[in-house]
Structures are given as structure tokens and as C-alpha cells.
């Protein structure tokens, strides 16, 4: 087991290194620099000094080596644009906000998505199944910048139940979490439905019926567990995605989360922030993939994390 973990950890590091390298060089092939401003040009000497300050005047390979060195020390560097904040402190400030919102959204989408999927599968080809399918299509097709204003219009403006925007109490979490969960709920529901329908045609379900088990027992004990396997695969990527914030939702609800920095940093060519957010997201994603594998082996005994000898 230890050998497996070690091997796995090593491969995670290699993956991360590959992502870091590719992003680093790709980022520097994008034309422009952090100091480009539309309209007015920066005096040449000022720009030169700034470039020197952030070591941007050195050859790319030297910069790359320096970045890797600081990365090993978990030092993501200073933000070029938002001087004097460092990328580390920026992540420490914004990630908890995005994560809180993300967890709330995930919670909603898992509960709602799985229930909807199961119900649709059990009522296959009946009204509720069609309703669930229609909802799923809408959920996937309608972007959340359409959903969010609608939620604000009704829940905040017309019925005055919840705050319209900003961040603070738990009431502030509800609307953005709902808006953010809309798409994932639809995807999970669809996946659960398909997978559940497939499991329900398996012969071991027939065997369970032949034992005289109650339908509810058959569904929960024999069908649901096996049909959640593909959903868990999806969740790995989804968790990393949702926890790191959504540019759109955070913008609409004026939430001080991470999502904004992903997008802003690219426009500004804020190299350290681009690298920092990418590295952070990658680590989260890689760790989640590992977690998915562990959960898989817990649910399905046929999957062993470490191969036994012989």
C-alpha cells in the first residue's frame, strides 16, 4: 500500500510539473506584457526598471528555473498588477470564500441531482422522467448568468426573501449557490438517470427481486451504490471546478472569491497570478482525482488500488 501511495504521489508531482511547464511557456508566448496599457505608453526607463524588478528581463529559461525553485518552497510570488499583494495571500483571502460557495453549490447539486436522476429512472418514460429530462436539458443549456439574475429578481427583489448580492451571512450564500448548482445538478441528474437505468436492467436486480426484497431496499442497497460510480468520476473534476469559484457568479453577486482572478490575470498578463491560480487549481484537481480513485475502491471491491503480486 505504501509503495502504491508513493508511486501515486510521484506521478501526481510529474503531472503537476508538466502542467506548470506548459502553462509557463504558453503564457509567455502570449504577446504583450503586464505593463501594457491601452492608450498611453509607459516611459521606456520605467518599464525597464519594472521588468528588472520582476526579473522579466532575464532569459525565459532562467525565469522558469527561478519560478520552479520558488514553487518548491510554496512561494507563488508577488502579483505584478496588484502590488504589493502576493499570490499566496490573494489565494488565502479568496479561496475560502469560493470554497464556501462551492461546497454549498456542490451539496445542492449532489442531493438534487442524484434524487432527480433516481426518480426519473424509476419512473422511466413517465411524466416525471420527461420533466426531469427537460430540466436537465435546460440546466445544461441555460448559462448561469441567465439563471442568477432571475433568482435575484424573484427571491431578492420581488419576494424580498434573500439579499440580492454581496457576501457575509449564510443568507448571502443561498442565491449564488443555487445559481452555481444549476448546471451541475442537471449534469448529475442526467448521469445518475442513465446509469441507474442501466443498473436496473442488470440481472442481479432480478435476483434481488426474486429474494422478495422490498423495492426500496433493492434500489438503495443494490442499485444506487452501483449506479453512483460514474457520478463519482464526474464529481472529481466537478469539485475542483466548483470550489475554485465562478467568474460569472462571483461577478453578478459581487462575491470576493477567486473566480475573478482567473480571468483578470490573463487579461492583465499578471504572470505570477496566472501561474498561481493554475497551479492551485491543478493541485486541487490532481488531489480530487486521487480521492475519486480511493472512493472507487471503497465502493467497488473489484477495484484494488494496489495490485497484489501474482
Amino acid at each position: 500500500m505504501l509503495a502504491y501511495l508513493l508511486k501515486r504521489f510521484l506521478s501526481m508531482l510529474i503531472t503537476l510539473w508538466l502542467i506548470v511547464s506548459i502553462t509557463f511557456f504558453l503564457m509567455h508566448t502570449v504577446p504583450g506584457s503586464p505593463f501594457d496599457r491601452e492608450g498611453r505608453a509607459m516611459p521606456a526607463t520605467v518599464e525597464k526598471n519594472l521588468m528588472a524588478l520582476y526579473s522579466l528581463d532575464k532569459p525565459l529559461l532562467v525565469q522558469y528555473a527561478a519560478y520552479l525553485k520558488s514553487l518548491v518552497q510554496f512561494e507563488l510570488g508577488p502579483s505584478i498588477i496588484r502590488h504589493p499583494e502576493t499570490v499566496n495571500s490573494m489565494l488565502a483571502r479568496t479561496f475560502p470564500v469560493s470554497a464556501k460557495l462551492g461546497f454549498a453549490a456542490l451539496f445542492i447539486s449532489i442531493i438534487a441531482g442524484v434524487s432527480l436522476g433516481v426518480v426519473a429512472a424509476l419512473r422511466h418514460n413517465r411524466l416525471i422522467d420527461y420533466a426531469a429530462t427537460v430540466f436537465a436539458v435546460i440546466g445544461i443549456a441555460v448559462p448561469n448568468f441567465v439563471v442568477a439574475p432571475l433568482l435575484i429578481k424573484y427571491f431578492a427583489v420581488e419576494w424580498k426573501l434573500l439579499p440580492a448580492a454581496t457576501w457575509g451571512t449564510w443568507q448571502h450564500v443561498v442565491l449564488p449557490a443555487l445559481a452555481l448548482s444549476f448546471g451541475p445538478t442537471a449534469i448529475i441528474a442526467r448521469l445518475t438517470r442513465t446509469s441507474m437505468l442501466e443498473v436496473l436492467t442488470q440481472e442481479y436486480i432480478e435476483t434481488a427481486k426474486a429474494k422478495g426484497l422490498h423495492p426500496a431496499v433493492i434500489i438503495v442497497k443494490h442499485a444506487l451504490r452501483n449506479s453512483l460510480l460514474p457520478v463519482i468520476t464526474l464529481l472529481g473534476a466537478l469539485v475542483a471546478n466548483v470550489l475554485t469559484g465562478s467568474f460569472v457568479i462571483e461577478k453578478i453577486f459581487a462575491i470576493p472569491g477567486m473566480g475573478k482572478y482567473f480571468v483578470d490575470s490573463i487579461y492583465n498578463r499578471d504572470y505570477t497570478v496566472i501561474m498561481g491560480t493554475t497551479v492551485f487549481y491543478s493541485i486541487l484537481l490532481i488531489v480530487m482525482m486521487f480521492v475519486v480513485d480511493v472512493v472507487y475502491s471503497l465502493i467497488d471491491p473489484r477495484i484494488k488500488l494496489h495490485k497484489k503480486e501474482g
Binding site: 442481479y204 435476483t207 422478495g212 443494490h222 467497488d300 471491491p301 473489484r302
Partner: protein
């Protein structure tokens, strides 16, 4: 004497996109205590559907039992509520499916899969259920039952899996065991072992067995009585001796003739019945086998043959049994011979 199980005039249909399939068209048979009945026929003849109808386990949205009665100890199973039926499933009537690999849940331990039936029907503690499960695994010939209980399906071989299926089916001491092609997925030596196991268990527990199969070898080894089914109907029924030594229906004869023989060294290709079974969306008006029958008469194509009794239990539905048929030369044969 009252029969343990009596199926009378069973009709089952399935709704499909192409229309309604008449899968079972008036099947009747009976089963006594401790007896083994084999239902034989080729794929799609309705033998599995018949078996599943007894458990009331045909697909609920598409399948429908149109007509008939299934009397179990005098009670009509078709008149029971679903809840009453659940009480019987797995306790009074059990079923074994063809492929144990797909018929057992891969993510639940074998022990749990055996125990859940016991706990369900006998309302005993887990510890007591465990004890029974161990005993049952022992009975079906699995060594080390205590340790094996914790294992999962993929840790067992094909024969062992089928033994586990049998253990699950028998653990609540049912009076009827329905085995749907229980040995088809196994190789011949394992097949022989499993059939032997059925016999041992039947001697010990007195369970009645309905064996669904297309393998005449299995029939010869296991059955007391045989029903030969074709296109949703029983075409011939009798004791195993009647069927093997005195087959009357051309289809039964064809089935027997298409079995490979060890003592045959004629280098002739193995016989097979020409043609394919009829379309059950619109079954033929006359005898369903007429189109493939070497002895078909004109009457066969227009009128259903009635059952005629050859001997006490030996019945056959064929126009050739009609006294008038003896003077008619076969009109047109399927093979053109």
C-alpha cells in the same frame, strides 16, 4: 391429491415497439412435491417467461399475464397483491438464473447477499442469519464458508458462483426451486457437478424443481417430467421415459435427433431442424411448427391441434395423432423432401 403447483392456460404477452408479442399462449402443467419438471425448448419459445410468470417477475411495464391461473398450494398466485407475492418470493418459491456472474451483485459481499434473504423472510438476527448462511454454503459444497462469506463475486470461480446462487435460492427452504438454464454458462464437468448438487439437495430437502433448459442431456439426467415447448405452447408433455423413448411430436423428435451422439461415427453433419420459429407478433393460425415440420398436413396450417393422450401422463398436441391422419400422406414438407 392436490398438486403443489398447477399452471393452467397461462397467456403472457409483451408490448414492444413492433407490436404485441404473444410469448406464452396457453401453457398448462403441474408439479408435485419432490418432483423435477423440465421445460425444454429453443430460445424464445416462452420457457423463461413461463418460469418468471410463476414468480410474477416479468417486466412490469411491458409484460402482461393475460389469462390463466397459477395455483400454488391451492392459492392463485395471479390474484395475490404484490406485497403478498413478495412474501412468497425467495421463501416459498425461489429462482436461480442462468449466469451467476451477472446475477449476483458485484459490490456486495457474498455473505450479505445470502443473509439478506434470511433476514427478510425469517426476521432473525444477523448472527443467526450468518450461521444459516455458513451452513448453507457448506451444504452447497463451498469450503471455508466462514471466510468465503466476506468475499466478493469476482473472487469465486464460475462453478462456485453458481453454487452461491443455489445457496441463496435455497436458504429459506422453499418448496419450489425454479432454475432458469442453471448450467448453460458452465463447462461440462462443472455442469455435471452442479446437476449432481441439485439432486443431492433435492434428496435432502424434498424441494420440487422446475428446470428450464434447452439441453436434452440435462433433461435426461434431472427430470421426472418434461414439457416440450414451442412458440409459446406446450407441444408434448410426459414422463422423462415417454419423451425419450416414445416421442410423438415431430418437434420433440427433431430435438432429440439434433443431439450429438457419442456412439455416432457416421461422419454425417449434425442434424438440425430446418427453418426458424414463427413470428410471435402474429402467430400462425394452425400448428406453429407446421412450417418446419416434415410431416405437416394441410390441416396443420389451418387448425390448432388439440392435446391427445397417448398414455396416462403422456400428451401431445399434433394432428398426426388424429385417427384420420393415418391415411393421409404428408402434403408438403418444409425441407421439400
Amino acid at each position: 391429491m392436490e398438486k403443489l403447483l398447477q399452471v393452467e392456460n397461462l397467456h403472457v404477452t409483451f408490448k414492444t415497439h413492433g407490436g404485441e408479442i404473444q410469448a406464452v399462449r396457453g401453457v398448462s402443467f403441474s408439479l408435485d412435491k419432490g418432483e423435477t419438471l423440465a421445460i425444454v425448448g429453443e430460445s424464445g419459445c416462452g420457457k423463461s417467461v413461463t418460469a418468471r410468470s410463476i414468480m410474477r417477475l416479468i417486466p412490469e411495464h411491458t409484460g402482461r399475464i393475460r389469462e390463466g391461473r397459477i395455483l400454488f398450494e391451492g392459492r392463485d398466485l395471479l390474484a395475490l397483491t404484490e406485497k403478498e407475492m413478495r412474501e412468497l418470493r425467495g421463501s416459498a418459491i425461489s429462482m436461480i438464473f442462468q449466469d451467476a456472474m451477472t446475477s449476483l451483485n458485484p459490490t456486495i459481499s457474498i455473505g450479505e447477499q445470502i443473509m439478506e434473504g434470511i433476514i427478510r423472510h425469517q426476521k432473525v438476527s444477523r448472527a443467526a442469519a450468518r450461521e444459516q448462511a455458513v451452513e448453507m454454503l457448506h451444504l452447497v459444497g463451498i469450503a471455508n464458508p466462514e471466510r468465503r462469506l466476506k468475499q466478493y463475486l469476482h473472487e469465486f470461480s464460475g462453478g462456485m458462483r453458481q453454487r452461491i446462487m443455489i445457496a441463496i435460492a435455497l436458504v429459506c427452504r422453499p418448496s419450489i426451486l425454479i432454475a432458469d438454464e442453471p448450467t448453460t454458462a458452465l463447462d461440462v464437468t462443472i455442469q455435471a457437478q452442479i446437476l449432481e448438487l441439485f439432486k443431492t439437495i433435492q434428496r435432502r430437502t424434498g424441494v420440487s424443481i422446475i428446470m428450464i433448459t434447452h439441453d436434452m442431456g440435462v433433461v435426461a439426467k434431472m427430470a421426472n417430467k418434461v414439457c416440450v415447448m414451442y412458440a409459446g405452447k406446450v407441444v408434448e408433455a410426459g414422463t422423462v421415459r415417454d419423451i425419450f423413448y416414445n416421442p410423438q411430436h415431430p418437434y420433440t423428435k427433431g430435438l432429440l435427433y439434433s443431439m450429438p451422439r457419442l456412439d455416432d461415427d457416421s461422419h454425417e453433419p449434425l442434424y438440425s431442424i430446418p427453418g426458424t420459429p414463427p413470428d410471435l407478433f402474429s402467430p400462425p393460425k394452425g400448428c406453429a411448427f407446421a412450417a418446419r415440420c416434415d410431416y405437416a398436413l394441410e390441416v396443420c396450417r389451418h387448425h390448432q391441434p388439440e392435446f391427445s393422450c397417448i398414455q396416462s401422463q403422456h400428451q401431445v398436441a399434433c394432428w398426426l395423432q388424429d385417427p384420420r391422419a393415418k391415411h393421409v400422406f404428408p402434403l408438403r414438407t418444409a425441407t421439400g423432401m
